[in-house]
Amino acid sequence: MSEFLARLGRHVLAVLQTLGHASAFFVDLVRNAPQSLRRPYLTTAQVHAIGNRSLVIIASSGATVGLVLALQGYITLSRYGAAESLGLLVALALVREMGPVVTALLYAGRAGTSLTAEIGLMKAGEQLAAMEMMAVDPRIRVLAPRFMAGVISMPLLGGIFSAVGVIAAYVVGVLMIGIDSGAFWSQMQDGVDVIKDVGNGVVKTIVFGIASTFIALYIGYESEATPEGVAQATTRTVVVSSLTVLSLDFVLTALMFSTP
């Protein structure tokens, strides 16, 4: 029994230590981030690797989610004779919640794992140590551009996801099911507020981008310098990123959208 308690205590202390180390890493990252503006090509190349390469999955997921939302929404709304509000339903669902959260989860899976694997392999291949030997700060050269690229890409990807979703819902609702096109757009424009809905959605994507990119970089940086270590690190990135994004989503939704 006492052995179990001792192990539990050690584990809790280890978690606290990781939290402290991660916070220091985050502060370092934020402090070095503006330096990446001195070599904009590094950041641009990273935006290409993180953002451009994720476009296909984000756009196709956005279209599919929009289609499904439109179909399911129509079935339920037509029960109450409110089928005309389909546009409003889909737009609010996408812009407020589904867009930021699903984009963040897909981003963590696609870009997060590639970041973790890349940093982990760089560490395993002693590239980071070699850079330090040459008096090049790896945090400025390697980590900061990736962090800035992630923070820049996430809002853009989220916007593309929501926009493609709304258009897909239009295709299903108006062109396939036959809802009135004017009612579709006018109800949506009446009910979606630029600052409170679209703006809050963009803020969410920025927060999720900061969190996922930071987690991916930290886990990659702290991974064991072995192939198994890198493999474990990539799965841990997805799990930790997803959980963090969902918890942050709850907190942000409560802050932004709860009625006093």
Binding site: Y41, T44, A45, V47, H48, G51, N52, L55, A91, V95, I152, S153, P155, L156, L157, G159, I160, F161, S162, A163, V164, V166, W185, M188, Q189, D190, V192, D193, V194, D197, V198, V202, T259, P260
Partner: protein, 161 residues
């Protein structure tokens, strides 16, 4: 990939992202009717504000002219104090009346302003004198039942003559 190609692709990606966000803002939201107009406050005291919420529209002739800014309870008069922010380009005469109306049958509640005929206009911070409180469904049903009950003995009395 050459440096130029990468930069072009990234530029395209950023452009698409901005396009998506602008599409959402313009087509899916109400940026087109977004007004940057300044507003002035008007007050009104209601016996019952019903389901009126902060941010509800203030309409006149069916067109939105402002929003409800705050709803507070006055402990001295035991009335609800509603502060409305009206857009500066719309002026209302001092004998305007304010009613709490419902959009549709069971929709959200809003304030409707009926203009009067006075020459002077309401100044910022002035109170609207003529108000009509919200209709509370339970009171309405109670009134209806009371009237029905009052009719029945009167009919019996006339039948026995």
């Amino acid at each position: 990939m050459s440096k130029k190609q990468i930069e072009t692709l990234v530029g395209l990606f950023v452009f698409l992202g901005m396009l998506g966000i602008f599409f959402l803002a313009l087509k899916a939201a109400n940026l087109a009717s977004f007004s940057f107009n300044t507003t002035y406050p008007l007050l009104a005291h209601f016996d019952n504000v019903g389901g009126l919420k902060v941010g509800a529209p203030v309409k006149s002739a069916g067109v939105r002219v402002g929003r409800v800014a705050s709803i507070t309870f006055d402990n001295k008069t035991f009335q609800g104090d509603v502060t409305m922010e009206i857009e500066r380009q719309y002026q209302f005469p001092t004998d305007t009346s304010a009613k709490i109306l419902t959009a549709g049958l069971l929709g959200d509640q809003y304030i409707g302003l009926d203009p009067g005929a006075d020459e002077k206009n309401l100044q910022p911070g002035e109170t609207i004198k003529m108000v009509q409180s919200a209709v509370v469904l339970e009171n309405l049903i109670g009134q209806f039942l009371y009237n029905k009950a009052a009719e029945a003995p009167a009919k019996e009395g006339s039948g026995q003559k």
